[in-house]
């Protein structure tokens, strides 16, 4: 990983932290009765995570000189959707997790009812953040529709429903792949496409190339997640390690074994690089991100 990429990444990450603060309702300014809700929303979103989705938005945005305001709003909207999904996913009726990003989960800290509302309100805030962009873009409506589609029952929520129904069930590799394409893949794909669409309306060739990249990276992300869940410890991950195996959830490691899973991740990394060929050198951040996603340790 080049020093230039690392500096770019740190720059985006700190820009996103500031932007998220701006786009969230401030706990101090809100009516006193909403103080706890707004504090809990900030707790769920700020100061955590690698910001993979925002990084993908910005990396894809650089391909087409996308205006910063729209990129920043798209990135924050995706991060709010991601954060709300973690809050709900951690709840007792779902994964029942106590630890997230090294901190108590939202329902542990603020109670279940508040966690439910925090997630609901964050989803609305995501759409508000993207809808309120002042940048004029012909794509704006299509971007909002893409975000909604990727978040809904044929995207992330659908993937979680399949995940839920798959506990203790032996999935085939293609069923496992379909689940992850919805559960995490849809939002990662949306990150890449929204970043690019912030800059211009995509040609079908550009769309297909970004889609192929998104598919490879999305799948790689999940394969690596499964490998880390099986091999890293909770302190490194910032969440409970070994949880999937303990919950009898199907994973790439349980299906293919550890070495084949690692080889698959490497193959997908190469596929991601190939998909970017048509963009030439200007896709370098997207290439670096594919490397980062496969080679990360947490």
């Amino acid at each position: 990983m080049s020093a230039e990429f690392q500096a770019w990444m740190k720059g985006v990450q700190s820009e996103i932290e500031i932007a998220l603060k701006n786009f969230l309702p401030s706990a101090e300014q809100s009516p006193q009765q909403l103080h706890t809700l707004h504090e809990a929303m900030a707790y769920a979103v700020l100061d955590g995570g690698k910001r993979v989705r925002p990084l993908l938005v910005y990396a894809a945005g650089t391909l087409f000189d996308a205006p910063t305001e729209l990129l920043s709003r798209a990135a924050c909207a995706l991060e709010m959707i991601h954060a709300y999904s973690l809050v709900h996913d951690d709840m007792p009726c779902m994964d029942d997790d106590a630890l997230r990003r090294g901190k108590p989960t939202v329902h542990k800290k603020y109670g279940e009812a508040n966690a439910l509302l925090v997630g609901d309100a964050l989803q609305a805030q995501a759409f508000l953040t993207l809808a309120e962009a002042s940048t004029q873009s012909d794509n704006h409506r299509a971007m909002l529709a893409l975000l909604a589609h990727a978040s809904g029952s044929l995207g992330m929520c659908g993937g979680q429903a399949i995940d839920l129904a798959s506990v203790g069930v032996a999935l085939t590799r293609s069923q496992l792949e379909q689940m992850h394409q919805l559960k995490t893949g849809a939002l990662l794909r949306a990150s890449i496409l929204l970043g690019a669409m912030s800059g211009k309306t995509l040609s079908s060739e550009e769309n297909a190339a970004l889609d192929a990249y998104a598919q490879a990276v999305g799948l790689a992300f999940q394969v690596v997640d499964d490998v880390l869940d099986a091999t890293a410890d909770s302190a490194t991950l910032g969440k409970t390690a070994g949880k999937d195996a303990a919950d009898h959830k199907p994973t790439y490691v349980s299906l293919l074994g550890l070495e084949a899973s690692r080889a698959l991740a490497e193959q997908l990394r190469q596929n991601a690089h190939q998909a970017l060929d048509i963009f030439g050198v200007s896709a370098h951040y997207l290439r670096d991100l594919a490397d980062l996603i496969v080679q990360r340790k947490a």
Copy 2:
């Protein structure tokens, strides 16, 4: 209530039922693994309720000859937001209700985890439904932002958070009013404004008049809800009657008494009528709806 208004209302209600079916993902066509999620989403939305929000959308839309497609999408989006909020509100960690619209609540029928996902997916589906409108409108982005704002932490979710924090607490009348303005008022107001905005960009005078109407009708809706909760039986309401009192929730009836609550509702009905004066005779459906909301028996 005139026969013409009743016929119009029935027409809108059956149009909305068909439109909701169209805008929801079909359980039959979806991937088999998503069958249950999509069936449960339809269960939560279809064949239930008085469709007050869609009626307000259509009534306000007639003021400015709004195109049907946009009206129908706005109405369905609002109804999906409303339906998701009921699904989450009924869950054990919130109101823990077993009965809704005379049927078992979603978590009773499909389990808690599915209920959580049904609500999440319905919220996304609401934004998708409005974002995918093919009608060109300069207001479209503002409409999406208004929907998001009315649904989020400074709207419906915020009201529910205050509601949650108010169990067993003695609220003043103005605190109770603020809670309801967010909890139910924000979405009713959005219904009226989205209906009007489907037709044109509102002048500040038009906006203020519709806002005054919305405020009166929104409050009246809640006052009547409290009266009915205290006086009607579960079979008539299609939900558990007397629940608020049993839960020690502050209501208009507990604060003002039954007769004063009824008088307040009537006063608000008259305020709603007055607010519509600037629109003359073309606001007749909005007037009739104010009457309906105050005079309903369930």
